[in-house]
């Protein structure tokens, strides 16, 4: 019966549905935030190349060893410090270990720890920022002043101290790097939270009896996810950097489990002998990963922050 009342003959066909009249439905073809973001991202050629580089490294490091079997485990005295050639595309090191095989193996460690601690740092930063911003008041002041204070401890010194006291295992590195690199995201998430928590839908949720955890997890955090994703990409770059710094100064994972930083350090101790193939492949890999993550982060920022979009 209701339907008949709504579609009364007098209103005609050319009257648009109410939703469209109110502007609730997009006039052109419906595009999700994700689709639109993807389009913006793909327009940025540099970011696409950067993404390609990242995919290449992930494939090379994790699936490369299935196809390429270089000697990465035992000393071969008759093959030490060979320059790149047909049997060893990237040469060998001072123990006769194949550099390409080693590059893949070390890359696994760099990428695993980099990604794991980058993601962990984002989770910590996001939660801390959301809680500080949501609770507000003196709790917020204390939480944010603590961040300011911790930021004034030079990162490398803190990393060196923590890595050398807590022991040098993969888990420790993931934790330590994450624990020292979540501050910038916290500030951003807190800022977002401050603007979100005064919105009507948050008030509505609270009125309906939604408790703080529900508001934070269901309403605030999903709305800050763009910032978090952008920052995760930058955070991964920082983590790869931090790990390689620790390895470079000799505080990384012990050989033969060293990462690219460790390989680079090992190679650069032979700098005077001009064994460039031991230095540049791992070094350039680190640089490429860091630059790629930065480019991807920038493109994601354009993709997620609708304010910056042209359309």
């Amino acid at each position: 019966m209701d339907e008949i009342v709504v579609e009364s003959p007098g209103q005609g066909d050319n009257i648009p549905p109410t939703e469209q009249m109110l502007g609730l439905e997009p006039t052109e073809s419906a595009r999700s935030m994700f689709r639109r973001g993807l389009e913006v991202f793909l327009e940025n050629r540099l970011a696409v190349v950067a993404f390609g580089v990242l995919v290449f490294y992930v494939l090379m490091c994790f699936f490369g060893p299935l196809l390429y079997h270089g000697n990465t485990s035992h000393v071969q005295m008759d093959e030490i410090t060979l320059p790149p050639g047909p049997s060893h595309p990237l040469g060998t090191d001072q123990n006769g270990v194949d550099e390409l095989g080693k590059l893949m193996k070390a890359g696994q460690i760099s990428l695993e720890i980099g990604i794991a601690s980058g993601v962990l740092a984002s989770v910590i930063g996001m939660l801390y920022g959301a809680i500080a911003g949501y609770v507000g008041g003196w709790v917020d002041s204390i939480m944010m002043r603590t961040i300011d204070a911790l930021l004034s401890i030079p990162l490398i010194f803190a990393l060196i101290y923590l890595a050398s006291t807590l022991g040098r295992t993969k888990t420790v590195f993931i934790m330590v790097i994450a624990l020292t690199s979540w501050f910038s995201l916290t500030r951003l998430t807190r800022g977002d939270t401050l603007t979100i928590k005064v919105r009507d839908y948050v008030a509505a949720c609270r009125m309906m009896g939604g408790r703080s955890p529900r508001i934070i997890f269901r309403h605030i955090l999903p709305n800050t996810i763009g910032t978090t994703i952008v920052n995760t990409s930058l955070s991964i770059a920082n983590s790869v950097f931090a790990l390689s710094v620790l390895s470079y100064i000799g505080l990384g994972l012990q050989a033969p489990n060293d990462d690219w930083g460790g390989m680079f350090a090992n190679g650069s101790s032979y700098l005077d002998q001009n064994y460039w193939w031991m230095i540049y492949p791992p070094g350039v890999s680190i640089v490429l990963i860091i630059i790629s993550c930065n480019f991807i982060g920038d493109a994601l920022r354009d993709a997620f922050e609708t304010r910056l979009q042209k359309r």
Binding site: I153, P154, Y161
Partner: protein, 315 residues
């Protein structure tokens, strides 16, 4: 101004207090505590108990913290190295000069270079020059300091022999009397510094160019040159002071790596070697010291900012 000074000073004290708690907390992360570190592998339960008591480590944590803070604040005593049987203060005194020299030179040249570069980019916005410099500064920003340092060493010392390889620089005198040995370490820090600073300078210039006083100056009939250098540049340089304060931790961290690459016995190498030989008191001491220097640095930066820009004092 006085109110601002007092408030800002109080803020620094709070920051220092939080840093001291964090550092004290980190101290208690040492595996098996300080005592095991001092006594080494041969420690028996009895000697451990004895030393624990003698050092006051069986006291409640807040008592220990208070004593530690008292030693730190009143006597600036950072403790004694287990292995070198020297106080951390004495070790720092030996190595601080050359580290500060490098950081100082790097900061000076970074500013001297990045200001004109930023101005050039801002005045020729969206030109080929601007894009080229932007690309380079992006790469410079993303390249890890240690990679850059090794590449420079490879190019200038190994491939082309432009700069001789000297023996270890272990005193301020050695650093000061061999300027050629300072070129590469400082250049490494300057290149990665300029990358960030010039971006900042560029956007700071662009912010100022759109201000009302610029339009007024042009309306008055001032030449473009005069507007740019007498009005815009002066104001655009003020935010750089904040940047210097903010970038100190990165710079100090970069100096640590540069010392390692170019064989300079400074605070960085002291820290690295101490960490490698599990001499944690030294690492903690240098961490605390660099944190204090950074906090003081940003305090000085903020005060000079307030002195130069009256608007800051009022907020």
């Amino acid at each position: 101004m006085t109110t601002y000074l007092i408030r800002r000073f109080f803020q620094s004290i709070v920051t220092l207090f939080i840093v001291s708690i964090a550092t004290f907390g980190m101290m208690h992360l040492m595996p098996n505590g300080v005592v095991r570190g001092m006594l080494g592998q041969r420690a028996t339960p009895q000697t451990i108990a004895e030393l624990t008591h003698r050092l006051g480590l069986d006291q409640p944590l807040y008592v220990q913290y208070w004593r530690w803070l008292d030693r730190l604040v009143v006597h600036f005593d950072l403790g004694t190295s287990y292995q070198k049987s020297q106080t951390v203060n004495a070790l720092l005194k030996e190595d601080m000069g050359q580290s500060m020299y490098i950081v100082g030179l790097a900061l000076f040249f970074t500013i001297v270079i990045s200001v004109p570069v930023g101005v050039l980019q801002a005045t020729r916005r969206n030109s080929v020059t601007d894009y080229t410099i932007t690309t380079f500064s992006f790469i410079g920003y993303a390249i890890p300091v240690f990679f850059l340092g090794v590449v420079l060493r490879d190019l200038f010392q190994v491939q082309f022999h432009l700069i001789p390889i000297a023996k270890q620089i272990d005193s301020f005198h050695a650093a000061f009397s061999q300027p050629d040995q300072m070129i590469l370490p400082v250049a490494t820090l300057v290149i990665s510094g300029v990358a960030g600073y010039s971006r900042y300078m560029r956007s700071s210039m662009l912010d100022e160019i759109t201000q009302d006083y610029v339009r007024t100056a042009i309306a008055k009939g001032a030449t473009k040159r005069r507007v740019l250098y007498r009005h815009v540049l002066r104001n655009a340089m003020i935010p750089m002071i904040t940047l210097v304060g903010l970038s100190l931790p990165t710079l100090v961290g970069g100096a640590l790596l540069v010392e390692q690459i170019f064989n300079i016995q400074g605070i960085g190498v002291l820290t690295i070697n101490a960490a490698l030989s599990s001499d944690f008191v030294i690492v903690l001491g240098t961490t605390m010291l660099t944190a204090i220097v950074t906090i003081l640095g940003s305090l000085v930066a903020d005060i000079s900012y307030a002195a130069l820009d009256p608007r800051v004092r009022l907020t």
